[in-house]
Symmetry: D3
Subunit: 111 residues, 6 copies
């Protein structure tokens, strides 16, 4: 599945869950507030989310945050630095996820 | 143990490990490079480290990163926003660590 | 792979492991005892297992427990409530697994 | 610190966080909705939360859920069965948390 | 609490749990079989358990496995190498647990 | 994807990352030192890495360490014992990864 197909599938499934149960809409609204521009800029919040995705080894989260990092004008360099912070925090067991992040960046032409 | 005593103990033990085995010095040097000012500022890198500490539920890491966030001129507001990003990512099982972060901030007079 | 094919593969591989090494049969027997009807009903134990699968982000465990929840007459509503308990405990990094649970329920016609 | 002192400290700190930042009140409200009586009874939801606390190795969560399990008329037998589901799911690395659960139950006279 | 007091408390609580519920005796028996001398020597199995304890960040497990490593004639050098394997696998968030392992080894005079 | 194709892809991506950013070369060099023959033999270090991969539920790490275990003359029996140590430590949520380890061993004709 391509990055774009994954993104489409994620959005469709999130929408389905929001319609099925108000909980998901509320959780997602709370997530939106946490990630909104404030004392920390939205771009830097997305970089934080990206690094957390690496350390917690969540590939779908990595795809998502690479998208939101780019949408918020994070540079390739910033995205790659966040990956490294995730790797040094989470160790060699995060290598598969770092490789995944690089493969996404290659696929979308950012590397 | 106070925040300062914890900090003192951590530094002493890290120094002991560095002397005992070169591995710890090399790992720590690599960590320093990852966290150095670059495309992402040092302040924002420390905020990333702080949020990771919440999501991964590591209290000693939280203490450490609150210190380094403050050393790098992160505001109280920024530190608290990083905590929230950590909590929304890691869920209610991170609440004990969010409480710990607040208690450290209270202890050192930042709240 | 469909839900049924996954189930078939899991059972075959578990059987292979049981034949190869007695440890897996003993671990599995112990698991059966823990999950047997007792002070907590088998149905509620499977719902517990399902929620744990969400929080620990284990998709194969989610597939397995959706099957055992349904086998033990858990309703769609109960299964979905267990998912939410898993998500609020484990945070946004469990969203991919909640989406997976919904996709399994859609595939088998429970949603 | 006794079980009661821990409970008091947790409530005070949660209240402080709720006053300091609306996020914590909203997250906590959402948590309350997820844990409210519905298709799954409140008692069984607290047992689920308790088992998750064992598998995710969160001692403060264990203390909290033992309290809420008892408040919702869970029996000693049910609480102990939830611990076992947590242990078989999470393995021997959850033994320290199972011991902690037993020590809390001993302290409050439930064992 | 000293290393010896911790060991005493752990054994007492494990015994209490074994008496309270047969599950713990059976799980513990299975654990004993897995850790018994076989294709991999008992000493090397305890070193494996020790490294897992570091990566999974379980201090009580670290205490336990330092004891069993020493009981099975593992050298100080072997124990410290297992710590490093745990740290490189689990990253900087395992540093508090590496420090803990060093502090135990200092306390019992192995360093 | 076959075991060999996975291995090829992993090496290519690691090489790409090493060329892109010196951090990955340095982390990997440090990993090589930790895993080199010393007080613990290289074979036993790879078995440790393999068991950690099971407990931390990292399938790409499992593939990698099965390869390195075999390269360092670990027997089928030793590799399977390391899997069991990983499973008893990490519990039933590691079963999917134990099944994966068995499937790799079947694929390459070691079982």
């Amino acid at each position: 599945m391509t990055f774009e197909e994954q993104e489409k599938q994620r959005i469709e499934q999130n929408n389905f869950m929001d319609r099925e149960d108000d909980f998901y809409r509320q959780f997602s609204d709370l997530d939106d507030v946490v990630y909104s521009e404030s004392a920390i800029s939205k771009k830097h919040k997305e970089l934080i989310g990206h690094a957390i995705s690496i350390t917690t080894r969540c590939n779908e989260c990595i795809s998502y945050h690479i998208g939101t990092c780019l949408d918020n004008k994070a540079s390739k360099e910033e995205i790659l630095e966040a990956v490294k912070i995730g790797v040094i925090a989470g160790g060699s067991i995060t290598y598969p996820n770092a490789r995944f992040a690089f493969s996404i960046l290659q696929e979308i032409g950012a590397l």
